[in-house]
Symmetry: C2
Subunit: 141 residues, 2 copies
DNA sequence: CTAGGAGCTAGAGCTTTGTCTAGGTCAAGC
DNA sequence: GCTTGACCTAGACAAAGCTCTAGCTCCTAG
């Protein structure tokens, strides 16, 4: 309610105080953070919510620049909902693509893990034959 | 078989020739690329396979440094399979975490998309009431 | 009243991952 | 013989996203 200091916000968002000031400078905050008479920032719960959303955006690969654009739309107020939606959908597609991509990579890696695990188990079982090492060729399979 | 030029490899891996040279300098290739008498690189199919694997690693967020470590292990030859496996498993876990993370982000975004879509549809249906805009507060939901 | 701790601004610095440039070699085709 | 295009090396530059520093202001506690 009352208001949070930058340190408190850092603690509860996980962003550093440096990053918080940086984000503000970069225009990522929906509205400029209020200040105490002394000039210190006072964050509202809404600010924290907004920041948490930014964090979600960031951690799903949205560049600061895009977040800035989105912020700009929200700042403009009602009337550009279609634009916001377009931006969100585009990012949504991007995130889906990332997940697909990663899933594919995971498959490859899991395959390699399986190969090595099997190799190592075999090595333990049949101690004598030590030539059964994945070669460089089989490495890239 | 015969051997591919850097340009051909660039074409079929999607990496730029610059990136290919860069990767080599960075020690990401299992063995040093062979050279023509003139000094030009000659890549084998194995090299391409290895590069494709590196690309998978990279695109799943493995830093060059880790790829370099993995490469080092493979270069050392048989005997360190357990280390390779450990590295792979660690990356596997990392990729899984990323996917989970992204999935969570996707949920949040999808939720917002739904809110905006519903808002816009409602706006079209009931043209008169234009005050029904997501507020900044609801923005961060 | 003084020390410590948290904040402030402006701006420099850093890391990662490439990309690009400059200046040069080489082989093929006209 | 000259041009063109692909390639070479070494090293400068770049973009993104923070992080850190310097130098200063406050407030609070002892």
């Amino acid at each position: 309610m009352g208001g949070l200091s930058i340190g408190q916000v850092a603690e509860r968002t996980g962003l550093s105080v440096h990053a918080l000031r940086f984000y503000e400078r970069e225009g990522l905050l929906a509205d400029p953070v209020r200040r105490e008479s002394s000039g210190r920032r006072v964050y509202s719960e809404d600010d924290v919510d907004w920041l948490n959303m930014c964090i979600k955006f960031r951690s799903s690969g949205m560049p600061l620049d895009t977040i800035r654009r989105y912020t700009g739309l929200v700042r403009q107020g009602p009337g550009n909902e279609a634009d916001r939606l377009a931006l969100l959908k585009s990012h949504q597609a991007h995130v889906r693509a990332q997940i697909e991509d990663l899933t594919e990579c995971l498959d490859v890696i899991t395959h390699k893990v399986a190969v090595y695990e099997q190799h190592l188990t075999a090595g333990t079982a049949t101690t004598l034959w030590s030539g059964n090492t994945p070669t460089q060729t089989s490495e890239a399979s």
